[in-house]
């Protein structure tokens, strides 16, 4: 029950886009049509679901102060947490690279569909952001996984919704300097405003 609650919260209340504005660059770049938005959203969800628990494990068993105690008592006083950032980004980049190779080998169809989006994910702020937010919260392995999955779904939802609106807005008369980026930002603001209604929402 706790886990379902956490999942729903990370999809709607703590939405990566509307509450933290993470992953905005690719969010704005690929939200021009629904099909590519779904592809990238799915890829982000997948990577977030796997890298958040992976980074959780690395932080708790290797980097945290005293975490190396399970190897030998001599290492119990070691604090490697200053390496957190560089380790996390390396894990994410390596994971994305690995994933790309695996998908290319086992499912060329999916590889063709995701195409150029996969390498882009390594520098999507929402992936590193998910890992860093997880640090500041008292999550266990199960919670970290659910949080990753929920954040990913929230991102997917947001990107598909914006893409659908942008497909429609092509037919509207927008003031010339506002066209493109300007109106998109205002749209995101209004959508974020809408998502505020989920505030304090629990199951």
């Amino acid at each position: 029950m706790e886990l379902i609650n956490l999942g729903v919260r990370s999809i709607f209340v703590d939405n990566m886009i509307f509450a933290y504005f993470l992953g905005m660059c690719s969010y704005l770049a690929v939200s021009k049509n629904v099909k590519t938005a779904v592809g990238l959203g799915a890829a982000v969800t997948f990577v977030l679901t796997l890298t958040v628990p992976l980074n959780w494990a690395i932080y708790n068993f290797i980097l945290k102060k005293g975490a190396l105690g399970w190897i030998s008592a001599d290492l119990a006083t070691l604090d490697l947490s200053f390496l957190t950032l560089i380790i996390f980004i390396s894990v994410i980049a390596a994971f994305v690279q690995l994933l790309e190779m695996l998908i290319e080998k086992f499912s060329p169809a999916l590889y063709g569909a995701l195409g150029i989006f996969l390498p882009l994910i390594a520098v999507n702020c929402s992936i590193l952001g998910g890992a860093l937010f997880m640090l500041g919260r008292p999550y266990g392995l199960a919670e970290a996984t659910v949080f990753g999955l929920g954040s990913g779904i929230g991102w997917l939802l947001a990107v598909v919704a914006l893409a659908a609106i942008r497909e429609k807005i092509k037919y509207s008369e927008v003031p010339a300097p506002m066209r493109g980026l300007g109106i998109t930002f205002v749209l995101v603001g209004l959508m974020s405003f809408g998502f505020l209604s989920f505030l304090g929402f629990t199951l």
């Binding site: 660059c25 992936i127 860093l132 937010f133 300097p177 506002m178 493109g180 205002v186």
Partner: protein
């Protein structure tokens, strides 16, 4: 033959180019308006929206990004000929991450409260597309000095937007600047507009800023 001419041109460039030639000055001034990283290139949006509720964190973030960008552009440009292109992304990330760690430790040591406010967003400079984007687009195939200037210009273009957005959000949202109550000081009673402090307000302010800038310089995007 082609290689020969390339070398000759390069040499000529070294000889004839003064430190602040017109081309180099353009590298700094362009990103401030016509080629602004946030409002035109659409890079580095995340932090522009997330940490601009107040002036102080926005300013600290701006300075941090200037530092990280200049250093990583310089280093990447210096080693650009030794990086194999197949793993350049990982190398760039490693360079950026190293400087971000330096900034993070410095902030924790000297301005602890601001560092706590910024929290995860300092770490997120690593994936701030603007740093990566300029390394990829400029520093990997240009000499150190122009790369440094390009990074400086883009980082300032970024910091300026950050500060402008934060100015409006803090002024309208809380009626203060750097925590100083502006409206009270001039004897006005101002009810803060809470929407400005929320993420929704940030996106709308940036949208309107883009509108203002484009009305002024006449840039129109093909939809």
């Amino acid at each position: 033959m082609a290689e020969n001419t390339a070398t000759v041109e390069e040499v000529k460039e070294i000889v004839s180019e003064p430190l602040f030639s017109k081309k180099n000055r353009k590298l700094i001034t362009d990103p401030l308006d016509g080629d602004n990283p946030i409002t035109v290139q659409v890079l580095g949006i995340c932090s522009a929206l997330a940490i601009t509720a107040q002036m102080k964190p926005a300013l600290v973030m701006g300075v941090a990004v200037v530092f990280v960008m200049c250093c990583s552009s310089l280093v990447t440009s210096l080693i650009r000929n030794t990086i194999p292109s197949s793993i350049r992304i990982v190398v760039q990330l490693a360079v950026i991450a190293t400087f971000v760690i330096v900034v993070n430790e410095l902030l924790l040591a000297f301005v602890y409260d601001v560092a706590k406010d910024l929290g995860a967003f300092i770490g997120l400079i690593i994936t701030n597309c603007i740093v990566m984007g300029r390394l990829e687009a400029f520093a990997t195939n240009n000499k150190p000095w122009p790369s440094f200037l390009d990074a400086l210009g883009n980082a300032f273009g970024y910091a300026i937007i950050l500060v402008i957005v934060a100015f409006f959000r803090e002024l309208l949202g809380a009626g203060s600047l750097f925590g100083f109550k502006v409206f009270e000081a001039v004897g006005l009673d101002y009810q803060g507009n809470g929407l400005m402090l929320l993420p929704a307000g940030a996106a709308i302010v940036v949208g309107l800023l883009i509108w203002a800038q484009r009305s002024w310089n006449g840039y129109v995007e093909e939809a």
